[in-house]
């Protein structure tokens, strides 16, 4: 293989599910770092709206359902029209689960798979096509989960989607042959709307098993996402676990 120049730091980053929780923390952090950010979720929250007001020249927000491919494509084109080519993607949007597999409605399984696996694959395809077609290089970060590597009751379909994204990360890194750096960040459980379903006994148990003695915080995940988007490294096709060694 010929020598390829390093993949430059991302400058215009698309973040799915940027309206709250980890996604909002990622958007805020990337803006603080001087990047231009486009973020969407099904509902634009006041917090995301506030960021758009604070950085009118560097933020584009919209209400988009990630499972609506046509809407995602329209959003991407609007972002490109405003800021130029997107050279970074963070697949963060996802829905959680807290139900035994045997008693999860089939429609719910389909929705989890569509939102957490099919949609990010489609969005990745859209963004990668734009980047490749314009001869550009870029970076992709998939937010997966420790559930992809360790078993947790009540999270069967969710874990399957996260494992699927970890696997896709490795194959994409190979397929995109150095034109794009593709990595995943796999956080342990952190407090958010998604994990609010966990009982206090479960959360206490996770904390007890975590050598660093606390649940992972979004603030402890965002520097890793930023590093994968911006730092000059040769990290590619990796899944970086951020869980205080809870799973070790």
């Amino acid at each position: 293989m010929s020598d390829s120049p390093p993949v430059p730091a991302s400058t215009v980053v698309l973040v799915s599910g940027g309206s709250r929780g980890l996604g909002l923390a990622i958007v805020t952090d990337l803006l603080d770092a001087g990047l231009t950010v486009a973020a969407f979720a099904r509902t634009v929250t006041p917090e995301l709206e506030k960021l758009a007001d604070a950085y009118p020249d560097r933020v584009h927000v919209g209400a988009v359902d990630v499972t609506d491919l046509a809407a995602a494509q329209r959003f991407l084109r609007a972002v490109e029209a405003r800021f130029g080519p997107v050279d970074g993607l963070v697949n963060n949007a996802a829905v959680g689960q807290d139900s035994m597999h045997t008693h999860t409605a089939t429609a719910d399984i389909a929705r989890i798979v569509e939102t957490n696996l099919t949609a990010p694959l489609q969005l990745t395809r859209l963004v990668a096509r734009r980047m490749l077609g314009q001869g550009r290089r870029g970076r992709i970060v998939n937010v997966t989960s420790i559930c992809a590597q360790r078993g947790f009751p009540g999270l069967v379909a969710y874990s399957a989607t996260k494992g699927g994204m970890d696997a896709a990360t490795r194959s994409l890194a190979r397929e995109l042959g150095g034109r794009m750096l593709v990595n995943a960040v796999a956080p342990g459980f952190f407090a958010s709307e998604m994990s609010a379903v966990l009982g206090s006994t479960q959360l206490d148990q996770i904390v007890r098993r975590t050598p660093t003695g606390h649940l992972t915080e979004p603030a402890e995940v965002v520097p890793v996402v930023r590093m994968l988007l911006c730092a000059h490294t040769n990290i590619n096709g990796q899944v970086i676990v951020v869980d205080g060694a809870a799973s070790i």
Partner: protein
């Protein structure tokens, strides 16, 4: 819909417990831990109710975590059938 009564659900629960060599006490306030009735036993019971009624019973784990007594199990399944 062919809905099971609370008493019919109790009979099915007694079968699940009996299959494990235990006896379901008459007292609805019995703590499930006393009879070793765990989430998979609950799942088995729910699937037996499904078999009898022909209707799928799906539910989230948080609802399940609130169940502590035999009476809670019966109330939960009776309510779930109505949803």
């Amino acid at each position: 819909m062919n809905e099971l009564s609370r008493a019919q659900i109790r009979d099915l629960m007694a079968q699940v417990v009996r299959n494990q060599g235990r006896v379901l006490p008459d007292d609805d306030s019995t703590d499930l831990r006393e009879i070793g009735f765990r989430s998979l036993d609950f799942s088995e019971l729910a699937l037996r109710v499904e078999d009898a009624t022909g209707e799928e019973l799906n539910f989230d784990a948080p609802g399940l975590r609130r169940i502590a007594t035999v009476g809670d199990v019966l109330d939960f399944l009776a309510e779930l059938q109505r949803q």
